[in-house]
């Protein structure tokens, strides 16, 4: 296309597994549509740039999260298990178990892993910026992250976002 590409500016501020998907899905899809994309990773979103993404879900703090089994018949898989919060919040390993079940469901449904989507983003030209201030606060170093990440602050993001066509805070 000869016209100037549309510009997309995303902020990824969350580090749980469920919130890890939206920025990478939107960024990769936008780049596939020939848009120019920058994702600014700040606060807990910064952990999504770690070489290995350890993102989990925490059902106790997400009352609307469907609790479903990734195996069995379709009917069984569609049951939404109502787990009382004193169990989901107090049982050791509950988040780990729920996380592995959600990952299994994603896999069953043909959804890419977060790491795969992140790699696809980079392949189609999405730019990642890590928030330098958050790195200092939480003690991250450049070596913690995947290759190909830029480092900067609010001004660097805002300069790009100021003439972006789409800006989303996730």
């Amino acid at each position: 296309m000869s016209e100037t590409p549309k510009k997309v500016a995303l902020i990824a501020s969350q580090g749980t597994l469920d919130w890890a998907y939206p920025p990478f899905i939107l960024a990769s899809a936008a780049a596939a549509m020939d848009m120019e994309v920058v994702v600014f990773f700040t606060f807990y979103g910064l952990t999504l740039l770690n070489k290995k993404v350890e993102a989990k879900i925490a059902p106790a703090t997400n009352p609307a999260m469907p609790m479903k089994m990734p195996f069995g018949t379709d009917q069984f898989q569609n049951i939404n298990w109502s787990i009382p919060r004193f169990i989901s919040g107090n049982t050791p390993g509950f988040n780990t178990m729920a996380t592995s079940m959600m990952k299994k469901t994603f896999k069953n449904k043909g959804v890419a892993t977060v790491e795969e989507l992140r790699e696809l983003c980079q392949e189609v030209g999405v730019k990642f910026i890590a928030c330098q201030m958050t790195m200092d606060v939480f003690g991250f170093t450049k070596d913690d992250f995947i290759d190909g990440v830029d480092f900067g602050g609010a001004a660097m993001f805002l300069e790009y976002a100021s003439d972006a066509d789409i800006q989303l805070f996730i």
Binding site: K109, G110, E123
Partner: protein, 78 residues
């Protein structure tokens, strides 16, 4: 059955959003202007996604059809 003769075939069966669009983009990038890609998907969302993608990227969606849970697209590179 379509009367269109494709240059390349891309099988995206079993993949979910946004993978069919990403794979389509990567395949189209490797092809020459005027060549035709046949993309096959099982993602029900891919119909609207491919239409939107083609509109945005300027490639031509020549034909799309559904047979059961299989979706077929013929895309001509601009």
């Amino acid at each position: 059955m379509s009367t269109i003769t494709e240059t390349e075939v891309l099988d995206c069966k079993g993949m979910n959003c946004p993978l069919p669009i990403l794979k389509t983009k990567k395949q189209i990038d490797k092809m020459q202007s005027g060549e035709i890609l046949k993309m096959i998907s099982t993602d029900p969302g891919s119909t609207n996604d491919v239409i939107a993608w083609a509109k945005k990227t300027g490639n031509t969606l020549m034909e799309n059809s559904q047979d059961g849970n299989i979706y077929t697209f013929y895309i001509q590179k601009s």
